[in-house]
Structure formats: structure tokens, C-alpha cells
């Protein structure tokens, strides 16, 4: 019998305690929970208040040195293709055109003074595939491929997840390719001509 009344008493007391706690939270909903971080002394003291973050309008800043979205600073890219080879899931696609000798100045140098020898008309990163492992950034010799602190880049269309970083338009790339082909053809022709001349001279010498 005493257990019976004990249960009722426990029930009443615990319900009252619980309702007291919820009511306290209800009335504390007029102010926000503090912004003290984990390393703050007051972190565990800020128990009451709203903790909702209205995301698109209020954002916790992402850490500056963390792995989020990839970015390629194409001005510094020398088109070596290390990243393409390093990527474990092949999410980087790259195409290069050798720079013609008279175009070297136009193509320019990287920010640390290295002469760029390749045009990079296609440098596509599929960020939908990218798992932000960061291997490509470690192998990059010019450190032009790096992570930016952008965490929210969702898209409605999957094709928008393909990021293009190439520094030439299709027409420009076509022109460069043709120029290169001409130069190469000319060089080949010169070579053949030279070879033929050398043969001729040899014959004459006999």
C-alpha cells in the first residue's frame, strides 16, 4: 500500500518538476542563447534561450583553413595535370594546349615567376563528385588549387555542379590549337626540308 502511494507521490513530484523545467524554457524563449564558443568559460552556463539559427540569414562562419569547395586560381595554373592524376575519384577534367613560342609572353607567368607553358582551355571540377579529400591541393606545384571556406553550394540542376575554370573560350582554344598545328607543321616541313637539303649536300659532296 505504501508503494502505491509512494508511486503516486513520485509521479506527482516528477511531473511538477518536469513542467517547471519546460515552463522555464518557455519563458526563456524571449532571448537568444549566448554566442560563447566551446573554449569560453561561460559555455556551459548559457543553458537557456533560443538556440535556433535561421540559416540563410544567420550563419556560423566556416573555419578559414578547412576543406570545403575547391577553387582553381587559373592564372597560376601551369597545366601540369598532377591534380588530375592525384584525384582518387577522377572529378577533375583537364585539357592543355602547348603555348606557341611567340605566345609565351601573352600566356604570362605565375605569381611566383614561373613561365607557363600550357594553355588550359578545360579545367572542370565536378564538385558533386568531389569528396574534399584535398589530395589535389597538396600535389599542386604552384598552389593554385585550394579549398575555399564556402560550404553551401547546393544547386537545383546537377549540371551546375560542374565548375569550369578554363582560361580560354572554345574559339580561342580552337585558334591556339590551329596555330600550334601550323607551327608544328611548319617545323616539320622545315625539318624535312633541312633533311632533304642535307641529303642533297651530301650527294653533292661525293
Amino acid at each position: 500500500m505504501s508503494e502505491y502511494f509512494g508511486n503516486i507521490k513520485t509521479g506527482a513530484v516528477t511531473i511538477a518538476t518536469g513542467m517547471g523545467i519546460t515552463l522555464k524554457h518557455f519563458f526563456n524563449a524571449i532571448h537568444r542563447k549566448g554566442d560563447a564558443g566551446l573554449d569560453d568559460v561561460d559555455y556551459f552556463r548559457q543553458v537557456d534561450g533560443l538556440c535556433t539559427l535561421q540559416y540563410p540569414r544567420e550563419v556560423i562562419p566556416t573555419p578559414a583553413n578547412a576543406r570545403y569547395r575547391l577553387y582553381n586560381k587559373i592564372e597560376d595554373c601551369i597545366g601540369c595535370g598532377q591534380c588530375v592524376r592525384a584525384c582518387p575519384i577522377s572529378c577533375i577534367e583537364m585539357e592543355t594546349i602547348k603555348v606557341a613560342p611567340d605566345d609565351l609572353a601573352v600566356c604570362g607567368k605565375t605569381s611566383d615567376g614561373q613561365q607557363k607553358k600550357f594553355w588550359v582551355p578545360v579545367f572542370d571540377i565536378d564538385v558533386a563528385k568531389c569528396m574534399t579529400c584535398g589530395i589535389c591541393t597538396t600535389v599542386c606545384p604552384t598552389e593554385c588549387l585550394y579549398h575555399t571556406p564556402v560550404a553551401d553550394f547546393s544547386e537545383f540542376d546537377r549540371s551546375n555542379m560542374l565548375y569550369h575554370f578554363g582560361n580560354l573560350t572554345r574559339l580561342e582554344a580552337e585558334a591556339k590549337r590551329r596555330k600550334l598545328a601550323e607551327i608544328q607543321a611548319k617545323a616539320l616541313a622545315d625539318k624535312e626540308k633541312k633533311a632533304a637539303e642535307a641529303k642533297l649536300e651530301k650527294k653533292d659532296g661525293e
Binding site: I15, H25, N28, A29, K33, L50, T52, Q54
Partner: protein, 372 residues
């Protein structure tokens, strides 16, 4: 009991201030030989249920639950998310009304209807104001207790007709729960009826009016009146399937209980019925134990607060705010307590509430007979 017992602060209104004046005037209103007034009387509680469940019921519950959990709740649609419920209703209206192929079509369609009618009929005997009551029955309280039992039929029809294991389990649990808890609830209300000596809702209210305000309420009528009040409140939670007695819905176990298969407007009707009966039990507890439309403010010497705050319009304000207060307590409990197990539910009903209801019944009877 004469109608002059009402202390009336005279408000110049078209239909006068005496007891049931508004509803009587409406009942006598005919247009082209059609009883249009009666339709209006029926429409008033309907509109009230719809509006209140729209604003306080859904929006209020979401906000209150959010604040109790340190959240913000709906914030996007309109300022502070005020229009969220309108958006939800628009969504519900556009939903396809699906009747499952293997469902019992008749029961499936009829279930929500019975459910809603059951909760709506009880509004007929709720005095919304001293001047307005849908039907001034001399057995009003008995009618209100009895008509709620019809809801059980609706729940069983919905659960059985859905041909779904969750729905059936929900319905069976719900019926077992409602039928069990009606006993302590009815005995607790009987204590109130004994204190009043009548079952007429308006008379119960008049008996609790007086210049001392809340001191005349039946909750303070006898030293043990708090016990039937508490018992009825707990039992009413179970009757309207609110937490901690929400095992018929039990989201984590039964998806949504007896209305798992419902979509579109049928779902909305069940929702409306649920919020309707929440207000109904809250109104009944405030009528029987907390004076209904009587002002709780006492007359303090020359400051006649009670006289100033009584009257048809004030009465509507008081009963609705008392009802809303109890709905708030229901929500408050819901976000505090975990769900009871089925055996705990039955233990609480048969081994705790029912014996205590009987004890309070006997003690109230003794108090009424040998009152000092």
C-alpha cells in the same frame, strides 16, 4: 434560479443582456420561412473551431512546443510565421483525396465525419457567453459526456476501414483508452454536478457567479473539489488522445495511429475534430470547476472589478480564455512528459483515477449534505 442572478454590466447591444438573449433571438430569426437563425447558431461554434484550431491550435502548438524546446518554430511564412497555417491549409486542400484500394470505402469515408460530428455536437451545450448557448438543455453536462462517446465509433470506423495494421492498432488502443477513462471523467464531473445540483450548463455557471469572483468557483467550493478537478483534467487528456496518453497516435510506433491512411481534407477534418475536442474538454472543465463565463476578478470595495468584467461579451472572453489556458496546459504537458505504456495507462485509469474519483465522489456527497 432566476435569470436576474446575473450581475450585468449593461452593454447596449441589439439583442439585450438577459440569459441566453442572443441565442434565443437568433433561434426566432426566420428568413422566407426558413430557420436561418438556427443555422447561424450552429455555424458560430463551427467557425469558432475552425478559426481557433487554425490560429491557436496549430500555430500556437507549434510555437509553444518550439519555445519549450528552445527553438523558434515556424518563422518563414509571414512575420513570425503567422501565415504558416494558411499555407498548410492551402497545401491540404490541393492534396489528392486517396481512398486505399483495399479499404472499406464506406467506413473509411464515414469515420472522419462521425469523429467530427462527435466533437462538434458537444459544442451545442457549451455556453459561450451568458447570452449565448447553442442548445439550453437541462441535461447539458450529461449530453456533453455522452456525445463524446460517439467519437469512439468514428475512430473505430476510421481505423478498421483503413485496412492497415497501424490504423487498427491505433483505433483499438484509442477505443480502449477512451472507454476506460470515461469512467473517472464522468465521476469527477458528477462531483461538479453534485456541487451545482443541476446538469444545466448555464445554471452551473450562474451558481458560480458572485461578487468575490474566483472564490465562488466550484474549485474552491469544498476542501476536496481540487481532487475531481485534477482527475477530470487527467482523464480528459486521455479522452482527447493528448500526451502523455497519446498511445493511439504514438508517432514512433504507429506512424499516425487510426488516421495513418488519411490524406487531404479527410485528414484535415480529423485534425479539426481533435482540436475541437481539445477545446471542448477545456471548456467543460472551466465551466464545471472554474466558473465558465464568470469573471475571476473580485469586487474590491469600491472597485467593482467583478461587476465591470461580467456580461455577455466579457463572458465570451472569459470562457474562451479559460479554455485556451487549459489547452496551453495540455500542450505544456505534451512537451514535458513521455508517452505512457499501455499497461501504465490502464493502471493509472483503473487503479489510481477511478478509486480516487469514487473517494472524491463520496466526500463531495458528504460535504454537500453536512455542509457547515
Amino acid at each position: 434560479m432566476s435569470t436576474t442572478a446575473l450581475s450585468q454590466f449593461s452593454i447596449p447591444l441589439l439583442m439585450g443582456n438577459s440569459l441566453n438573449a442572443w441565442s434565443d433571438a437568433l433561434a426566432g430569426f426566420y428568413l422566407f420561412g426558413l430557420p436561418l437563425g438556427l443555422v447561424i447558431i450552429a455555424a458560430i461554434p463551427l467557425v469558432f473551431i475552425a478559426l481557433y484550431s487554425l490560429t491557436y491550435g496549430v500555430y500556437g502548438e507549434r510555437k509553444i512546443s518550439a519555445f519549450m524546446q528552445d527553438r523558434l518554430g515556424p518563422m518563414e511564412v509571414g512575420k513570425w510565421g503567422i501565415l504558416q497555417t494558411i499555407a498548410d491549409i492551402l497545401k491540404l486542400l490541393q492534396k489528392e483525396d486517396i481512398v486505399p484500394a483495399s479499404a472499406d470505402k464506406f467506413l473509411f469515408v464515414v469515420g472522419p465525419g462521425i469523429l467530427f460530428v462527435g466533437s462538434f455536437l458537444a459544442f451545442a451545450v457549451l455556453p459561450f457567453s451568458p447570452a449565448f448557448i447553442g442548445a439550453s438543455l437541462n441535461v447539458g453536462l450529461f449530453f456533453a459526456i455522452g456525445i463524446v462517446a460517439i467519437e469512439v465509433v468514428g475512430i473505430l470506423a476510421a481505423g478498421w476501414g483503413s485496412n492497415n495494421k497501424w490504423s487498427l492498432y491505433g483505433a483499438v488502443r484509442s477505443v480502449a483508452q477512451i472507454v476506460s477513462y470515461e469512467i473517472p471523467a464522468a465521476i469527477a464531473l458528477l462531483c461538479g454536478a453534485m456541487m451545482a445540483g443541476t446538469l444545466d450548463m448555464q445554471k452551473i455557471n450562474i451558481l458560480q457567479s458572485g461578487s468575490y469572483g474566483f472564490a465562488h468557483f466550484f474549485l474552491f467550493h469544498s476542501p476536496i473539489a481540487w481532487l475531481p478537478f485534477l482527475i477530470y483534467f487527467i482523464a480528459s487528456l486521455a479522452e482527447v488522445n493528448r500526451a502523455p496518453f497519446d498511445i493511439p497516435e504514438a508517432e514512433s510506433e504507429l506512424v499516425a495511429g487510426y488516421f495513418t491512411e488519411y490524406t487531404g481534407m479527410k485528414f484535415a477534418v480529423i485534425f479539426l475534430a481533435e482540436y475541437g475536442s481539445m477545446f471542448m474538454v477545456s471548456a467543460i472543465i472551466s465551466i464545471v470547476f472554474l466558473g465558465g463565463w464568470n469573471s475571476p476578478l473580485p469586487n474590491l470595495g469600491g472597485v467593482a472589478l467583478n461587476d465591470w468584467t461580467n456580461g455577455p461579451v466579457w463572458g465570451a472572453l472569459w470562457i474562451i480564455s479559460k479554455g485556451f489556458f487549459f489547452i496551453f496546459v495540455q500542450m505544456w504537458l505534451r512537451w514535458t512528459l513521455p508517452r505512457l505504456r499501455v499497461d501504465q495507462l490502464m493502471y493509472l485509469c483503473w487503479k489510481v483515477l477511478t478509486p480516487f474519483a469514487f473517494i472524491s465522489f463520496v466526500l463531495t456527497a458528504i460535504w454537500e449534505v453536512y455542509r457547515p
